[in-house]
Amino acid sequence: MAVNESERSFQHPLYEVLERFPGLDLATTQVDKLLTWGANNSQWIFPMATSCCGIEFMAAAASLVDLDRMGSITRGTPRQSDVMVVAGTITVKMAPRVKRLWDQMPEPKWCIAMGSCAISGDFYRDIYSVIPGIDVAIPVDVYIPGCPPNPEQLMAGMLRLQEKVNLKRAGLWSPPETRPETPKTIEPAIKRLLHQGRDRRIDAAQIDQALSLELPVVDLPPLPEPAPEKGEDE
């Protein structure tokens, strides 16, 4: 016997109590606001620091940025943390551990993917032992791109997480987090050059085409003697 769930009114003893006493619903919303504010301003971090980004995470906790300003301190145990900051490459050997630590964290919990390795695997994306982004294993709330992101960017990411939590707890729509993709221009480092089955002549043609865009380079005669490269200093 199927019951249309959507037409059943919400029946909970507490809810009836709420309706009976005037003002109580207002009070509960106020309490809810207080709790949201508390959850937002005391996000204790569990650093899943595996590689380079871990050093920048430490720099963010140090004097330059000081995550303690917004009440975020670092805890060594997942049981007492609210935010897992995945900072660094996660390998196939490490991923089950990350998943397990994530499961050990009590709700409400959030995850920040810090750095391009945690977002998508970056350089190591196509390598046999690296998982292509931590969102394969656990849900990610905020992505912070960079290799590694500056400490300031981590702080900005924490603030963005706060906004997101505010919106979610208020029941509002929050823009879904999209995984920043590496621009196509620098992606093919592995695949384009020596990927099996790919014709090398296509590469040569592409390189020629790219070089022909820079007319002065083509016009230059082969350099007879070493010249300093000054162009990239600006």
Partner: protein
Amino acid sequence: MTPAEENAAREQAFRRLLRERFGVEGEADAPLPDDGVVVDRAHHVDLAKALHKAGWQLYVTCAATHFPAVPGKKPTDATTPECFEVATVLRTVGPGSHTARWRVKLAVGESLPTLVPVFVGADWQEREQFDLVGVHFEGHPDLRRLMMPEDWEGHPLRRDYAIDTPHAPWR
């Protein structure tokens, strides 16, 4: 003798040793080729022991390489068989430090005698090469995988191992 002279003498001794005892071609004191010398598999441990005695105290590294079978250019040419090559580097300590390098060629299925009894530091390096390239080190006390999980299949640094090998459920 100053330490620098001692080390220079050790370097010379290495060259002589190679030519006189281990069958490397060339004049006894002539400089060695840039890409190192190839030593027979049977001499590997003897050479290491001799060098250790002569004062090459620091074990630097070993690098195993996989050379897959290369078919001949013409169909009639013989195929170059698949083989492995293990390079070992030692170093003298103190001013004027020198490195000693040699290589051992291994056919498929051949194993290399381990250097752990001579240099304890070879332990992890050999385990790593076993793990990644799949060269078996004979007599190693604890030959397990070092980098990859214990249940991993294949040896990633072989040339025929695809770089983007999938591994469910993670990638």
